[in-house]
Amino acid sequence: MILSDLMGSRVEGSDGERLGTLIDVRFVIDGNPRQLLADARLEGIVVSPRSRASYLGYDRKDMNAPALIAHFLRRRHRGTFFVLWADIERVERGGVRLRSEFTAYDPRWSARVTG
């Protein structure tokens, strides 16, 4: 599967209700070790309820300058959340369906400790 088939997909809840648009796919390099780099496993997806556009990184890091742009982007992307792979029920072309009891996580990188 090519990633651009997935980007911009409609994300819906288990009852078919629209939750937003898939704006990014998050990987973690912690899979099977290889000679150079370990496998990059798909950890989850970032869903924005309002915008299809990229957040230019403002959602992942605590950047707040230039203030005007930061404010505008935060407004446009308010409600953005991150969902783990385990909470994805179905992936089809143009649509992703989440499980009924999915957990919406903070999409910011700064919200977590990476080891």
């Binding site: 088939d5 990014d24 998050r26 973690v28 989850g44 990229s54 959340f81 992936v91 903070d106 977590r112």
Partner: protein
């Protein structure tokens, strides 16, 4: 913004990469630091069709994909499969501001146009077979 009220995701054991933010459109350099191409797309292993079992293993990146994607970026759609050139993930040595490979760019399909131009055009120009003096 709602995110400050959301739960913190479990910690990751390795480097975290957001495809759009950390991979797509990044430059790809070979083992010796020579630019090879850019990351136009990412290929991941297949996702199970239909309902995904709860304990299904997550897909992994299988390859960096490159190709003439300008038109599909603007107008949408997808290139024919034959136009995509893949660099296997096993050749990638690090992902930073640029994506570094652990192999020589000369051996990759991704740089065939450059090699073709060098061998068929530049080589025929007088003085084109040696370094500038």
């Amino acid at each position: 913004m709602r995110s400050h009220r959301l739960t913190t995701p479990p910690p990751a054991a390795g480097q975290v990469l957001d495809a759009q933010l950390s991979l797509l459109d990044r430059q790809v350099l070979d083992r010796t630091g020579v630019p090879v191409t850019t990351v136009d797309d990412i290929e991941v292993s297949d996702v199970p069709e239909g309902a995904i079992p709860v304990d299904a293993a997550p897909p992994v990146i299988t390859a960096i994909v490159t190709g003439p994607v300008l038109a599909t970026r603007i107008f949408g759609g997808r290139l024919p499969e034959s136009r995509y050139i893949r660099i296997p993930w096993s050749d990638v040595s690090s992902v930073e501001t640029v994506v570094r490979l652990g192999v020589d760019g000369e051996a990759l399909d991704a740089s065939w146009t450059e090699r073709w131009v060098r061998d068929h055009i530049i080589r025929r120009i007088p003085g084109g077979r040696h370094d500038p003096e």
